[in-house]
Structures are given as C-alpha cells and as structure tokens.
C-alpha cells in the first residue's frame, strides 16, 4: 500500500480528463472522480487502522520516497500518520460536498471544476508530504486556485478580496520559505536535505530555533487566520462562490494549522515551548475578538467568516498548550470546524440561491418555506456553538482540558477567556438563526421557495454525517489521532 502519490495525482488526472472531454461531461467527471477519491481515502483509512492494529508502531505509515531534485536532496516523500489521515478524510468530504453544491453552475464550468480539483490536489499533497519543500510547493499550489475562484466566480467586491487573499497568503508563504531555507542550511553539510525525517533527526540549536520558529509559525498562522493577520478571511470567504468558501474555510485554513503542528512545533520543540505563552495569548485574543466582531455582522457569510476566525483561534490555542489533549483538541477542532463551516457555507449558498440576499435583516421565517435547509442550518449553528452530540463539543472541550492541564496561571486565565466565547457564540448564532429561520415571514416573495435539490441534500448529508459521527463517537477520531499526538509530545518533552 505505497500508492500515496495517487492522492494528489487523482485530482490532476481528473482535471486533465475535464480539460479533454466535452463541457457537458465536466460535472459528472469531477463528481465521479471525487467519489472515487473519497472511497480510496476511506480504504486508505481502513488499511491504516489495520496496520496499526497489526502493531506497526512506526510514526508514519505507507512511506514512499521518490527522489526529486537530488542536488537539493528534495524528494517526493509521502507518508501518513493519524493526523494526516484525519485531515485528508476531512478534505475528501469537503471536496465532494463542494462539487455537489456547485452542481448547477452555469458559466465556465471547465475552468471552475479544474481549479477545484487543483486546490484539492494541493491540499492532499500538503497533508501527506514528508518533505518540507514538497509540502511548501503543494501549499502554494493551493493558493492561486482560490484567487481565481473568488475573482472569477465570486460576488461583491470580489477582485479586492481575491487580491487581498492572494497577497496575504503569499506573504505567509514567503515567511515559511525563509524559514525552511534556513532550516536547510542549519543541517550538517553531508546530511543537508529538506526531508522531514532527516530534519527531525537533527534538531536545531535553540538560538537558531528561536529565530526560525516565528517565521514558520506566523507564516502558517496567516493561513489559519492568526490575529492580526486574519483580515483576508472575512472578505475572501464572503465574496467567494459557495464551493470556494467551503474549500477556503474547510480545507485551506486547515493547511495552516497542520503546518504549524507538523513543521513548526514538531521540528522546533524548544522554540515552541519558549513561545508558548505568546501563542496562546494571541489565540485567545483571536477567539474573543473574532466572536465579538461576529456579533456585529449582518451578512450571513461575514458572520460565518468571523466566527471562523474565532474557531480557528481554538486550533492555535490547542497547539500553544503543547500538551496531549491540547494538541488533540487542535486536531479535533480542525476537523470539526472544517466540516461545520463547510456545511454552514453550503447552506448559506443554498439560501442565497433562493432568496438572492445574505442580509440577516432581510430574511425571516424561512423554516416555513425551506424546512430541510433550515434544519441543516440549525445543525450547523448548534455545532458551531459547541452543542454536545455534534462535532464542536468534543473539540472545544479537549482544548479546554489541555489548557487546564497546564497548571500555570496564564494558561488557566487564557482558558477561561476562551470558555467565555461559548456564550458569545451562542448569542450571535442564535441571533442569526433566530432571525433568518424563525419569526413571521416578512418578505412575501420568500413564502414559497423551491425545496432542496438532490445534490444539495447529498452535500449536506455527507457533512452532517461527519459532524454527527465525530460528535457522538469522538473516541474513533481520538484513537486515530492520539498516537500521532503522542509522537509530537515525545519530541516536546525531549526538548
């Protein structure tokens, strides 16, 4: 089972197929492709679990290294641990849902779906790469499709948002680039390589770590909307097309968190310890600040975008705690937020298609005209405010646990501050949902809207299933992620 390279390859093949086949087959091809991918990944997960249960204790399974730029010791080195498995599962779900949601897209289908596939390819490659250069390459591959998606198929001040997004993300990757180049040159000459394993084998001296860590952490942090570099999020999410927002919030914000975890924290544990307090403080600020800012938003997409800032704060918070349940919580939160926010954006898209507005104040009583969609939106909302039984709850609780497990006062204070956000979240979610779905129908044109179509139902179903599984049986994800976290913790405690 060393065919990991297929993961990024399949989307490329799909897009090639889309390119060659006539336009009317585009959707079918991409949907079939995505489904195949999804199934393949589920299969992969099963293989992974069976390998583990057979007692294979190596950190990364199914490793495979293809020499790429031998003069730089760059290789296409793939391998998965529990965290990457979780991430690619999330990606597969979101991709499939996204394709389903954008089913009745009219203009420039070919390009749209090819870009979606490229984005997916970037994400898959990023999550499974064990070579930092390759990782970085995939990370950047995923950026420009977002720009195009927003700019071409977006709405509102799309070009401004697209530009902002591309430039801020690219600044992030510029920082990352500087970081990894200097990490490379810190290795002893004979073993200079971008390979993750090699780098992990030669830990950097502390003073070097202290210099490089901020570059890489902030760089990846920008991708996951670290405060104050989050302003690409609201504009980008809100002017993107539905599938675009789903990918953006569901997948690409996770790239950042994953990178912070895999590259920054794992390769520079001492520096992580050193910077832990600033990280958690910034994260807590992002959580509260994002939540408060959300309360004032009037556009559904803006509401969700700002709440994403708040929720991704939990990811950084968990990472900053640097202990077992903190990092578990971060991963949980990544998965949970990915599913939840993708679902939310999907629903917003469905509503927008029918009402042609996203202003909360202009909608009311939609529960009567579109019960299914409203129910789904309800689930998404409840998940986002961390209701038990849905995915948000275990994630946030695990993060809090991690925070409380650190006995220093700072961490306790930060944790309490983060806890406060659950109330604020409840406030804005209920305001949004209450206004949009409940109450009398003010605008008569919303009295009769056409019901959810099959593709929308399926898209919602996929994501809701994910949310429920994670919410009701969190120990599945736990058993998947925990060993990988253990490895990271080992490094941290060694450092």
């Amino acid at each position: 089972m060393t065919a990991l390279w297929l993961l990024p390859a399949i989307p490329v093949i799909i897009s090639a197929a889309i390119l060659l086949l006539p336009e009317r087959m585009t959707k079918a091809v991409s949907l079939v492709g995505a489904t195949v991918q999804f199934l393949a990944i589920i299969l992969l997960t099963l293989c992974f679990l069976s390998e583990r249960s057979d007692g294979d204790q190596s950190v990364f399974l199914f490793q495979q290294r293809i020499e790429w730029f031998s003069s730089w010791k760059i290789g296409l080195h793939f391998g998965v641990d529990g965290i990457s498995i979780a991430m690619i599962l999330l990606t597969a779900a979101v991709v499939t849902a996204g394709i389903l949601v954008s089913w009745n897209l009219k203009q420039q289908q070919k390009e749209f779906f090819i870009l979606l596939q490229l984005l997916a390819a970037g994400a898959y490659g990023f999550f499974i790469s064990l070579d930092i250069f390759t990782m970085f390459c995939f990370l950047e591959i995923a950026v420009i499709p977002k720009y195009m998606l927003i700019g071409i198929w977006g709405s509102g001040k799309k070009t401004y948002s697209a530009n902002k997004l591309a430039l801020m993300l690219m600044s992030g990757s510029a920082l990352i680039l500087v970081g990894i180049l200097f990490m490379y040159y810190q290795l002893p000459v004979e073993s200079r390589s971008f390979d993750f394993i090699t780098m992990a084998a030669h830990p950097l001296p502390l003073n070097i770590q202290l210099v490089i860590f901020p570059f890489i952490f902030i760089g990846f942090g920008i991708f996951t909307a670290i405060f104050p570099f989050h302003t690409w999020v609201p504009d980008g999410h809100s002017s993107a097309p539905t599938a675009g927002s789903m990918f953006l919030a569901g997948i690409s914000m996770k790239l950042g968190g994953f990178g912070c975890l895999r590259v920054a924290t794992t390769l520079m544990p001492e520096a992580a310890q050193y910077y832990s307090i600033p990280i958690v403080v910034i994260a807590a600020i992002a959580i509260l600040y994002g939540a408060f800012a959300t309360m004032m938003q009037t556009d559904l997409k803006y509401i969700n975008a700002y709440s994403s800032i708040s929720h991704c704060g939990f990811v950084l918070l968990g990472i900053g705690f640097l202990n077992h349940s903190g990092i578990n919580g971060a991963v949980f939160q990544m998965v949970s937020h990915g599913l939840m926010t993708a679902l939310f954006f999907a629903v917003i898209g469905m509503i927008y298609e029918r009402t042609h507005t996203r202003k909360v104040s202009e909608m009311s009583g939609l529960m009567k005209s579109v019960p299914f969609i409203s129910a789904i939106m309800f689930i998404a909302g409840l998940c986002s405010l961390g209701l038990p039984g849905l995915s948000g709850f275990p994630a946030e609780m695990t993060v809090f646990m991690g925070g409380w497990a650190r006995s220093e006062t700072v961490y306790r204070v930060v944790t309490i501050a983060a806890c406060m956000s659950i109330v604020i979240t409840a406030v804005y979610i209920l305001r949004a949902i209450g206004t949009v779905m409940m109450g009398p129908i003010k605008n008569n044109s919303f009295a009769v809207l056409d019901k959810a179509a099959w593709n929308e139902k399926w898209a919602a179903l996929i994501l809701v299933t994910g949310i429920l599984i994670m919410g009701i049986l969190p120990y599945l994800l736990y058993s998947l992620v925990n060993p990988a976290t253990g490895e990271i913790i080992k490094k941290l405690s060694k450092g």
């Binding site: 020499e67 790429w68 730029f69 031998s70 003069s71 730089w72 760059i74 250069f133 390459c137 995939f138 950047e140 591959i141 950026v143 420009i144 720009y147 195009m148 700019g151 071409i152 799309k158 070009t159 697209a162 530009n163 591309a166 430039l167 690219m170 600044s171 510029a174 920082l175 680039l177 500087v178 180049l181 200097f182 490379y184 040159y185 210099v211 570059f215």
Partner: protein, 466 residues
C-alpha cells in the same frame, strides 16, 4: 575533424546562416514567408548543433574556450532565438527588410556566442561590442516611428558610454596585472584600491547590459520604443547572455574579489528587485511593464549569484532557461495584441478570457511562472535562486527578497484580473492566433510546466556547472 570546427560549431553555424541570408538578399527571388521558413529551419538546426558534442577545449591560445556548460548556455540562447523567429512571424511577414533584420540579429547573437566563450578581456570587449551595436540598429528598425528612433539613440549613446567606462576599468586591470587572459588574470589580481575601482568599472558595464539598478535607466525606454521582436530579443536573449557572462566572470576570473562583490551583489539585488517592482506597479504600457518586471527578475538572479560558485551558476542558468520560456510567452501574447490591434496598453488584456481563452490562459501561465507560483517552473527557479542566496546566511536579505516576490505578485495579478475578472466594454473581438504563434506558445507552456517538474533538468545543470 579539426577540433576548432567542433568547439566553434555554433559560431560557424551562425556565420554560415548570415552568409546564406546575404546571398538570398542578392538574388531577391524569395517572398518573406519562404525566407522566414528557411530561417526557422536553419535556426532549429543551429539549436540542435549547439546541443550536441559538448567536450571542453580552448582555441587561439586562451582566446576562445568552450565546455559543456557554455554549450548548454549557447543552446538556451539558440533555442530562444528559434522561438523568437517563430513567435513573431506575423510581424516578420509584414516588415520588408526581413533579411537585414535577421542578419543584424544573428550577428548580435554571434557576438553573444563569442562573449560566452571569451577567454580574454580583448575578446570580451570585442564580442560585447558585436553583440550590442546591431541591437541598437534593430531598435531603430521601424524607421517611421519616432519612438523607435529615440529608443535607438538612447541605446547607442548609453551603451557606448558604458563601454567607455568598462574599457577604462579593463585598462586599469591591464595596467595593474599586465595581462588580459582570464586564467592569468585570475591569478594576478588581488585586492587593492586600484583594482577594486577597476572591478567596479568592469562589472558596471555588465550591470548596465543586465539592467541592474541603478544602471537600468535605459531599459524601459528602449524596450518601449523598439519593435516587439527586438524587445523580446533584448529582454530574453541578451539578458540571458549577460547573466551567464557575469556569473562566469565573477566566479572564475574575479573570484579573488569575492568579499567585495558579495556585498555589492546583495545590495544591488535588493535595490533592483525593489525599484523594478515599484516601477512595474504603475506601468500601463505592456512593454514598459515587462521591462520593469524583467528588471525585478534580474534582482533575483543577482541574489542567486551571492551563493557558492556551483549553486550560483546552476541556479542562475536554470532560472534563465525558465525565464526564457516565461518571458517569451508573455512577449508573444503582448506581440499578438499589439500586432493585431496596435494596443500596447495593459487595457488590451481586459476581458481577454472572453476574446480568446487560449491566449488568456497562456498569458496566465507565463505570468504565474514569472511570479513564481507552482507548479510553473518559475517557482522552482526563484526558490533555487533564493536557496543559493540563503547559503551566505543573511536572513533579512532572503526575507526582503521573498517579500519582493509578494510585491511582484501584486502587479502580475493585475494582468490576471484584467484578463479574467473584468469585462471589456467593447464587444468581444476574437483574436486570431496563427499556427506558428500557437506552436511557440505551446512550446513555451510545456517548457514552463515541465522544466520545473522534471527535476533532472536542474540536476543536469547542477552537475555540469560543478
């Protein structure tokens, strides 16, 4: 077969082509199309010849030298030349002095070949002149255009001036060491005030040709004024040559002065990126735009040269290859626009996606490669340049360079935005693309895509440059 035939194969081939063209000119029987086809075939052959049999050797004492790296670089240039001859066929067909044009261009290329193989300061000077002067004539090729004349004037005067400065430097070196041969020179020079001065004088000429800030001022005007093929020639081929030669000079001949020119390069490269970007941001004329963007690119080339000899040479050569494809593609699209609608303005790109998707996507690919976005090869080129530069361990330097990549992205995205995200007010006219242009674009595109992904290309360059 005497080895001078082998070592000088490219030069001889070019000379041969020049003579063929002259003869054709005498018997004026052929139409432009036929001549053009002939030239294209010949240039293709030339490229092939440049690629094969690449063993090292020297001629005329130390005057002329060749090795596999130099042959490779000549191959790049020949390839670029061939692509140019293909790309602008529309323009070539219209011009009435086709043969003269190519005679001039080829003689300039001849000069470049000798420049690459030069083993002696005298040789260096002569070939530099030979490569420069015809281009000035080319810049003036559209006689009826005022701008063309102005461009030519600016070019000839400033390049003559720079030649003067360089010669002064050479004379100082001669005075200090008494030799002109690279090999002996490399041994004889050592750091003192006089020779530092000579060094700067000498380098400044190449900085000028390479349009390094602050010696870049002629670039934009000349690019804008000259006919598009000439601009492409200048910005792709001549720039490539100069980069190669500068790298060779610094790493082989003037290695002694490394402590001096290392910092010089660092600062010059920063200045070049910054100024190039800042000026490119607000350009509206596509040629000026490309001029400044290529200046910014040169900044990255210099950054690559601050590394070790091997990685520096390798990354520079690789980047040049990528740069040839990307920049040429951009120029081809620009040429098609200016050719068919006389729009030299960025506005010409507005709504290009609707008018002609093929062109739009080709341009997008080129732009992404120039901006250094994977999987386009430009990404790898830039990263390797910075990687080579990072060797010397100035974090701030690489950081600023990387941030400059972001700034450059800003104006490259401007083109993308115009092409894809904005509707043209005028009713969409369909741009027609001739077969040879399509062919060129496809070659460039595949070059852009595959040069990076196929790692053996870089690895090969790396191997032969060590």
């Amino acid at each position: 077969m005497p080895d001078f035939l082998l070592l000088m194969k490219s030069e001889l081939m070019i000379t041969l082509i020049i003579f063929i063209l002259l003869i054709i000119k005498l018997g004026k029987g052929l139409r432009n199309e036929q001549i053009l086809t002939l030239i294209q075939v010949l240039l293709l052959v030339n490229t092939a010849i440049a690629a094969i049999i690449t063993e090292p050797g020297k001629l005329f004492g130390e005057m002329f030298q060749s090795n596999s790296l130099i042959c490779l670089q000549k191959t790049f240039i020949s390839l670029a030349l061939y692509l140019v001859s293909l790309a602008f066929s529309g323009w070539f067909r219209k011009t009435e002095h086709l043969t003269e044009f190519f005679v001039l261009m080829l003689s300039s290329v001849l000069g470049m070949y000798f420049l690459l193989s030069a083993g002696n300061l005298l040789m260096l000077f002569l070939s530099l002149e030979l490569s420069t002067l015809p281009v000035a004539a080319l810049a003036n090729f559209e006689l009826e255009k005022k701008k063309s004349a102005e461009a030519a004037m600016k070019m000839i005067l400033s390049s003559a001036f720079s030649t003067g400065i360089m010669l002064f430097g050479i004379s100082l070196f001669y005075g200090a060491t008494g030799t002109l041969e690279f090999v002996q020179l490399a041994g004889a020079v050592h750091i003192n005030n006089l020779q530092l001065m000579a060094l700067v004088f000498l380098i400044s000429a190449f900085a000028f040709k390479l349009s390094v800030v602050p010696f870049h001022l002629w670039t934009a005007d000349v690019y804008q004024g000259s006919p598009t093929p000439v601009t492409a020639f200048l910005s792709v081929i001549s720039k490539a040559t100069m980069a190669f030669v500068l790298a060779a000079l610094l790493f082989k001949v003037l290695a002694v002065f490394e402590p001096a020119w290392h910092w010089l390069l660092v600062w010059l490269s920063l200045a070049t990126m910054l100024i190039g970007n800042l000026f490119a941001i607000r350009q509206t004329n596509i040629k000026r735009f490309l001029a400044f963007s290529s200046i910014a690119q040169v900044g990255f080339i210099l950054a690559g040269m601050t590394g070790t000899a091997v990685s520096g040479t390798a990354s520079v050569s690789f980047f040049i290859l990528v740069y040839i494809f990307s920049n040429l593609a951009a120029f081809v699209v620009a040429g098609i626009l200016s050719d068919q609608f006389q729009v030299e303005d960025l506005e010409g790109f507005r709504g290009l996606r609707k008018k002609n998707p093929f062109l739009a996507w080709m341009m997008a690919l080129a732009v992404f490669s120039l901006a250094g976005i994977p999987p386009a090869a430009g990404f790898f080129g830039k990263i390797f340049l910075l990687g080579s530069g990072a060797y010397s361990g100035h974090v701030w330097f690489i950081l600023l360079a990387a941030l400059n990549m972001v700034v450059s992205l800003y104006y490259y995205l401007k083109i993308i935005r115009l092409m894809f995200m904005e509707e043209s007010a005028a009713d969409p006219v369909i741009y027609s693309v001739s077969r040879s242009e399509k062919f060129t674009l496809v070659i460039c595109a595949s070059g852009i895509v595959f040069t990076g992904v196929f790692s053996w290309i870089y690895d090969y360059i790396y191997r032969i440059s060590s």
